[in-house]
């Protein structure tokens, strides 16, 4: 039993080391002094005020939200269609096709970023909303597909057949039977897509332009070029956004397990 206790102490240290360091950002964001020193001196909300009154930070936040919502819509729609297609038919090369859709997960981000930069230069898509949405869709869609495929695996095919035999068309069957049953997987996939886009840095760094930057790009530029503590407040805001969205996703996947089991 002592060895188990020892493992327990070890695990607690790991958890502290995983989670605690990130939280230093929170006190930093309430720092009164205009430096990045820790521990912070005094308490002030001036960096949050700075953020919410600075047009360039607000513009970046708005761009990020816009790109993330559009990416979520595109990646989820296209991803759900692809998952349905993959689950409905058996054909030679199906595994290859699935692998093809998941490939963006394993290719080094910098390589894809350079490729998109080169392609977008030619297509005049650099720093445009469609450019950002397409680039983010590529890395978000695999997460939608894996989540939706997992949901579809737990789906009883006889329910769709029953629906069809009762006279429902394919589209009606999808919206009244299939979609409600796989909704938790779709929701989780959509939220993962949102967060992936909202947090994406490396592709965005390459396809940014002075007219369109997302929040992570602005954070990166601010960290590497200036020493503005506003970035700590921004980091806390993005952190809260991602954590809230992921908690909802977690809740959605939890629920998924009950009706299937």
């Amino acid at each position: 039993m002592t060895s188990k206790r020892l493992l327990g102490v070890f695990a607690v240290i790991i958890v502290i080391w995983l989670i605690l360091p990130t939280l230093v950002i929170v006190p930093m964001s309430f720092n009164e002094a205009s430096s990045f020193n820790f521990p912070p001196k005094g308490f002030s909300t001036r960096w949050y005020e700075n953020f919410f009154t600075d047009a360039s930070w607000l513009k970046a936040l708005f761009s990020s939200l816009q790109v993330a919502v559009l990416t979520m819509i595109v990646a989820t729609t296209v991803g759900v269609l692809a998952s349905l297609g993959l689950s409905k038919v058996k054909f030679r090369g199906k595994g290859l096709m699935e692998g093809y859709f998941l490939l963006p997960l394993i290719v080094p981000g910098i390589v894809l970023a350079v490729g998109l930069y080169s392609l977008f230069l030619r297509l005049d898509l650099l720093g445009t909303l469609p450019g950002f949405v397409l680039a983010h869709t590529i890395v978000s869609m695999p997460l939608v597909i894996t989540n939706v495929m997992a949901s579809l695996q737990g789906l009883d095919p006889r329910l769709e057949q029953a629906s069809a035999s009762l006279g429902a068309g394919r589209v009606q069957t999808f919206f009244s039977i299939t979609l409600p049953l796989i909704a938790p997987g779709v929701t989780a996939g959509a939220l993962f897509a949102f967060v992936t886009s909202f947090d994406e840095v490396i592709l965005s760094l390459f396809i940014q332009s002075p007219t369109l930057q997302t929040l992570p790009v602005k954070i990166f530029n601010s960290v590497t070029q200036t020493n503005d503590p506003t970035v700590a407040a921004v980091a806390v805001i993005t952190m809260l956004t991602s954590v809230i969205v992921m908690l909802i996703a977690q809740f959605a996947t939890r629920k998924r397990k009950r009706p299937v089991a």
Binding site: K4, L7, G8, F10, A11, W17, L18, I19, P21, T22, V24, I25, F36, F38, V78, L81, G85, K88, V89, F91, Y100, F101, L102, L103, P104, L105, I106, V107, P108, G109, I110, V111, L112, V114, G115, L116, Y117, S118, L119, L134, I138, M141, T146, Q161, A162, A164, S165, L166, V195, V201, I202, I219, F220, V223, A232, A235, T238, V243, M246, Q250
Partner: protein, 305 residues
């Protein structure tokens, strides 16, 4: 094939079972390619904005500034490049090894605790994934700086002057390990949870001491998890850009930063893209070799968490 005897369309209305059969037959009939149309949007998007950019990178690497393999010759004959490659691989190997050492006991503990504790342990491992790498790196920048809390404590307790933590390989490895640890724990746990708990007592009944039992019984059985976790961490580590850029020094850059530098700073598209293709080929080779070696292992180790 037997379903072909049931012809679709003329199933009596109201009876569910024959109707279902008819639909089943229809699916195998001449129309069974129709759901394939659903794949078209995804196929078009992935082909245009994933495959085409990668092809573009490859073509640039053999045509820019002139057609030929001079960019690859440059890559393999310049000593500075080889140093960057060695540093990148070295860091990725170090991080993989440290992750394994930290993740193994953690994942093992997950297999012997109650369901509630296990869920909690899993939640704690997943939670960091919910925060962007950028924010976590920013936090390490604050902690590791010369006037940061770690150096402050060192000075207060031991009276030693600021130790350079940021802008060092140590800083990079620390940040990378923290980000990549979950990718090691999850596959390890999934492989360990399949190991029969009675095997270790059986080994000790047969006279093995705990160390022998661990190395001859438990460790080999957990190999699939070690492989898939190790490969995921290693290939993700090879491609890291943000953490080395913010926690490392400009003198000790890694492949990703060098690609960015060649293209954005020096405008050497050919050399930058050749480095990119080299990184891509390394990643694919590692995946292929390991999936051959580790039979039954997924080609996408990170996906089936």
């Amino acid at each position: 094939m037997t379903d072909h005897t049931v012809t679709g369309g003329a199933a009596p209305a109201g009876a569910v079972a024959p109707g279902a059969d008819a639909v089943g037959a229809k699916k195998r009939g001449p129309k069974n390619w129709r759901p394939l149309l659903l794949l078209i949007p995804a196929f078009v998007i992935v082909s245009m904005f994933f495959l085409a950019p990668l092809a573009d990178v490859f073509i640039r690497s053999i045509t820019d500034p002139v057609p030929g393999v001079q960019n690859y010759v440059w890559l393999f004959t310049t000593e500075a490049n080889l140093n960057v490659v060695l540093r990148t691989f070295g860091t990725a190997i170090l991080v993989t090894f440290v992750c394994l050492l930290l993740a193994y006991p953690y994942a093992y503990l997950m297999t012997i605790v109650s369901d509630r504790t296990r869920n909690l342990m899993q939640l704690f491992i997943m939670m960091p994934l919910w925060t962007s790498i950028l924010v976590r790196t920013l936090a390490w920048m604050v902690l590791l700086q010369d006037t940061g809390p770690i150096n402050g404590l060192l000075a207060a307790w031991f009276g030693i002057g600021p130790i350079p933590l940021i802008r060092t390989t140590f800083g990079v490895a620390l940040g990378m390990t923290q980000v990549l640890l979950p990718f090691m724990v999850l596959p390890l746990y999934s492989s360990m949870s399949k190991i029969d708990k009675r095997l270790l007592p059986a080994a000790s009944n047969l006279g093995a001491n705990p160390v022998t039992a661990f190395f001859t019984v438990y460790l080999p059985l957990s190999k699939p998890g070690i492989f898939s976790g190790g490969v995921t961490v290693f290939i993700l580590g090879l491609g890291f850009y943000i953490i080395p850029a913010l926690l490392g020094s400009s003198k000790e850059i890694m492949i990703s930063a060098m690609i960015q530098q060649q293209i954005s700073v020096f405008l050497m598209w050919g050399q930058g893209t050749a480095l990119g293709i080299f990184l891509l080929v390394c990643t694919i080779l590692i995946l292929v070799v390991v999936s051959r070696f580790n039979k039954g292992g997924s080609l996408f180790p990170g996906v089936d968490r």
